[in-house]
């Protein structure tokens, strides 16, 4: 099982380190040919506008969309969550997303960096609370019928799952706990 990490921009190394620590074979995905060998994909945090542009110029957007249609499991955090959602508020008009999670996200929905925060959240999929770091985080404003909410913070859904897609508004790759990555890897094994 090889887990690709979209490595165009952002905190991709932190994801690779986390996955590697858990025993997974994690590799960078920068170009379409890198996609061929991976069984699952992680989309990291970073700037979603930058990533959208680089997804086009690297000619990765369509091959990733095809693989997602074929059922490839995907896990997006922060900017990655934006890339997976169907509807984006306060995005750029030319910003494309993969639409694998039927949700509306508002970019920087909690405000600027001085409003960024960390907190412990309870989830429906871990025994212990998970420490969650929100950095200029997207806020989930609407949840589609077939989307499961796995955790909330400050009254909003922050960890969601639908079909082959898992999305987090926070950064499990930055905190010391590995529970969310373990959850994703376990879903690949089953």
């Amino acid at each position: 099982m090889i887990v690709g990490v979209l490595a165009l921009q952002g905190a991709f190394q932190a994801h690779i380190d986390k996955l590697t620590d858990l025993g997974a074979d994690a590799r960078e995905v920068k170009r379409p040919e890198h996609l061929d060998s991976v069984d699952a994909l992680v989309m990291p945090g970073g700037e979603s506008t930058t990533m959208s542009m680089l997804l086009e110029s690297s000619e990765l957007f369509d091959p990733i969309a095809d693989r997602l249609d074929d059922g490839m499991p995907v896990f997006g955090t922060c900017a990655g969550l934006i890339l997976l959602s169907t509807d984006i508020e306060d995005g750029r008009p030319d910003q494309r997303s993969f639409g694998r999670l039927d949700i509306t996200v508002k970019r920087n929905g909690y405000g600027r960096q001085v409003e960024s925060f960390e907190t412990d959240i309870e989830t429906t999929v871990t025994n212990e609370p998970v420490h969650a770091v929100f950095i200029r985080a997207p806020r989930i404003m609407r949840i589609g019928d077939d989307v499961d909410v796995l955790a909330e913070a400050r009254g909003d859904a922050v960890l969601v799952r639908s079909g082959n897609a898992l999305g987090a508004g926070f950064h499990p790759e930055l905190s010391s706990s590995s529970e969310i990555h373990r959850l994703f890897l376990e879903s690949l094994a089953s």
Binding site: L8, Q9, G46, T50, M53, E118, E122, I135, R136
Partner: protein, 297 residues
Amino acid sequence: MNEQSTSTGTPLVKRGLAEMLKGGVIMDVVNPEQAKIAEDAGAVAVMALERVPADIRVDGGVARMSDPEMIEGIQEICTIPVMAKARIGHFVEAQILESLGVDYVDESEVLTPADETHHIDKWKFTVPFVCGATNLGEALRRISEGACMIRSKGEAGTGDVVQAVRHLRTINGDIKKLTQADSAELFEWAKQLQAPLPLVQEIAETGKLPVPLFCAGGLATPADAALAMQLGADAVFVGSGIFKSADPAPRARAIVEATTNYTDASILAKVSRGLGAPMTGIGMDELGDLKFEDRGW
């Protein structure tokens, strides 16, 4: 679900934004039009300032924090993070920038220093800070004062990459040496670097700075950005290099592409084609006395 307690302005939250900017390009802009061009070109953040370093160099005089109105104009048009510069030691400029909601404060040697001895106590702020450094000791002093991102200084406003290379090599070279030192030698290293011993010991253990290391000062081409990345920078700042060039938009975009694909020479060749004239620049050997890199202590 229970009501959870949340914390803002923690070291992890501050460093977190620097983590998100990795592999990206932060561009100097002086007005909302340039900010739009930068965002369109794929910048991960913009640095809002009144004059780019090349102009500060030409104009002379005292360089200060930008007008809040100008910063707000850029914040309105941008969806990406907006940074702004405060003078070294000028904690009131930093307080003002924090109240404006800028996403990162750059305590910058490009502006005229306000304090010849003290840098800002950055722990007191909710907004994160980036600071310049020419060597490991300087980087560690800034981190001990609360900086959450270090940028190698280079020499801003020159378009000459030589100092950026020197500073990156110096910082990363000393980090490598620290990892080879035995525990007794680390006391002497801390003394030589004029840096706190616990930070020196931490780096000897981990082999890297506890915060991201970005590169700045003199980058003007896609190849310059890729050079900085191959030398171990986590991301790059491009100041005068974009908006002092003949055709800023395609150059900005090419530098973004180069920063992502920094090890792929064929992509670097492709994006370097037909960009028009880079900034003319001024070589380090013809610079005279005004070296920004000497500011900071």
